[in-house]
């Protein structure tokens, strides 16, 4: 008995020395609350291929994007398989806050100016707080500024305007795979005939698979519900390409059946068909400039 008591005290005394001190110190540093881990870089830039992704430029950052589509591949050697034509959009986007971005662009297609707002409503997160997907809302206005097609009749400025509203719902599955669902509505103030709808609904989406840290394969599809555009024959838009990130730039090189470079253009005005060879080679070049440094960086 006496020995036992001695043994117990002896053990109590040396016990702290038996526990690996560094492990217990490390456990001391484990956060009681898990930090919230927001899904970042669901896509490399603000477009999946030709349409909007959930990404915005970071707050205080200016994104400059040059979009170029060549002519159709099926136009033959005379036309150098489309190299002789081009449609260009030069655009800028700026992160006003962490969640809100404003942007505008100039399109060579009918000298169209477009302006938009994009707001991150919900952000996918894991860890201390969990939410399964990200949601952004997008709204734009496009105004074409070429001469009236029918100058003889009474024309209104508002006839030049169209709008597009989109909900961008995306999820990043692990670090390599991301998927987005994009319901869209285009409103055209003026349509060619009474049978054409002013409001055109589409359901689309896209995704990317990273094949390395800097290269991904992307695809995007938008289905236009039938019976909405009657006076001309339009088709669903499908685009596929690669994202190549080089540090300062993101290059997106793709094939698409849409010549249009803004939402109204490729959602409600895609006249090309993949199986007929109406395929356009195109690219986006994105560059980001830091205008305002984050406050947290400096003391």
């Amino acid at each position: 008995m006496k020995i036992n008591i001695r043994m117990v005290f002896l053990l109590l005394l040396v016990f702290p020395l038996l526990v690996p001190a560094q492990d217990s110190l490390m456990n001391l540093l484990k956060d009681k609350k898990l930090p919230v881990n927001y899904a970042e870089a669901t896509f490399k830039t603000s477009r999946i291929v030709i349409g909007q992704s959930i990404e915005n430029p970071a707050s205080g950052n200016l994104l400059v994007m040059i979009t170029h589509h060549f002519g159709a591949l099926n136009t033959g050697y005379e036309n150098l398989f489309g190299l002789k034509q081009s449609a260009v959009r030069i655009g800028m986007e700026y992160g006003l806050t962490k969640r809100l971005a404003i942007g505008f662009g100039l399109n060579t297609d009918r000298n169209t100016w477009d302006g938009f707002l994009k707001y991150k409503v919900l952000r996918q997160k894991s860890g201390g707080k969990k939410f399964p997907f990200s949601l952004s809302l997008f709204a734009n206005t496009a105004i074409y500024t070429t001469k009236w097609e029918n100058p003889d009749r009474k024309n209104y400025f508002t006839s030049r305007i169209s709008y597009c509203f989109q909900a961008l719902i995306a999820r990043k599955f692990g670090s390599r795979f991301s998927l987005q669902i994009t319901p869209s509505m285009v409103h055209k103030n003026l349509v060619p005939t009474a049978a054409d709808h002013n409001d055109i609904f589409a359901l689309g989406g896209g995704g990317r698979i990273k094949i390395s840290n800097r290269v991904s394969i992307n695809a995007e599809y938008h289905h236009i519900f039938t019976g909405q555009v009657v006076s001309s024959k339009i088709y669903d838009s499908f685009s596929t390409g690669v994202d190549i990130e080089t540090g300062g730039h993101v290059f997106q090189i793709f094939l698409t059946n849409s010549m249009g470079e803004n939402e109204e253009g490729f959602l409600a005005n895609t006249t090309g068909r993949w199986n007929k060879g109406d395929i356009f080679l195109g690219f986006n070049i994105t560059r980001i400039f830091t205008i305002i440094e984050p406050k947290s960086f400096r003391e």
Binding site: L13, N61, N213, P294
Partner: protein, 184 residues
């Protein structure tokens, strides 16, 4: 006899535990810096967790990679996505010792040189590391400071050929953590 044993043990036990002091910080700072011909890279993390045991010199660090802030948001994204792969390796740790802890008097204010030795884990790679720093004791707080360089290649952080001239192969790391007594 028995009684004396018990008294001796209790005295010795309480003496040991009273003498041992753990110092901790949850908002230490680590800054890193590298300069190459084209690009200056600088980032700061002000949420560094550390703990130091004054008797044994055991010293540990725990750092969330996503808590590093950069001047350019795009650099921060690339740092997390392409270089440190923070989804796969969310934290960096250091587990080691101040080997000359006997020379540091925690009850006397002053600045003491500290020899630190241990294992640094970044990007899932663990490397032995041995550096010198200082410990400043003031008003019951201990401030640890160190400045050293590591090679990116040691931690298998690869730089693609296209930007190899933009990024320096070694990174200068500055550590400054003010720790206070635990539970006091």
């Amino acid at each position: 006899m028995n009684k004396y044993w018990i008294i001796l043990m209790i005295t010795a036990g309480s003496f040991t535990s009273g003498y041992t002091q753990t110092y901790v910080s949850k908002n230490g700072m680590i800054r890193f810096y590298s300069e190459a011909s084209l690009e200056k890279i600088e980032a700061v993390n002000r949420q560094v967790n550390t703990a130091l045991m004054s008797t044994t010199g055991d010293f540990v660090f725990r750092v969330l990679i996503k808590s590093f802030n950069f001047e350019k948001a795009m650099m921060q994204e690339h740092f997390n996505e392409n270089y440190l792969e923070s989804d796969k390796y969310p934290e960096a740790t250091f587990v080691g010792k101040i080997t000359n802890i006997r020379d540091i008097n925690f009850t006397k204010e002053g600045s003491y040189p500290a020899d630190v030795e241990g294992k640094l884990t970044i990007h899932g790679q663990t490397q032995p590391i041995k550096q010198n720093g200082t410990l400043e004791i003031k008003n019951d707080a201990v401030t640890a400071k160190a400045k050293f360089s590591i090679l990116l290649a040691d931690y298998r952080i690869s730089i693609p050929n296209t930007v190899v001239n933009n990024i320096s192969k070694s990174i200068e790391i500055t550590v400054e953590v003010m720790m206070s007594k635990l539970n006091k």
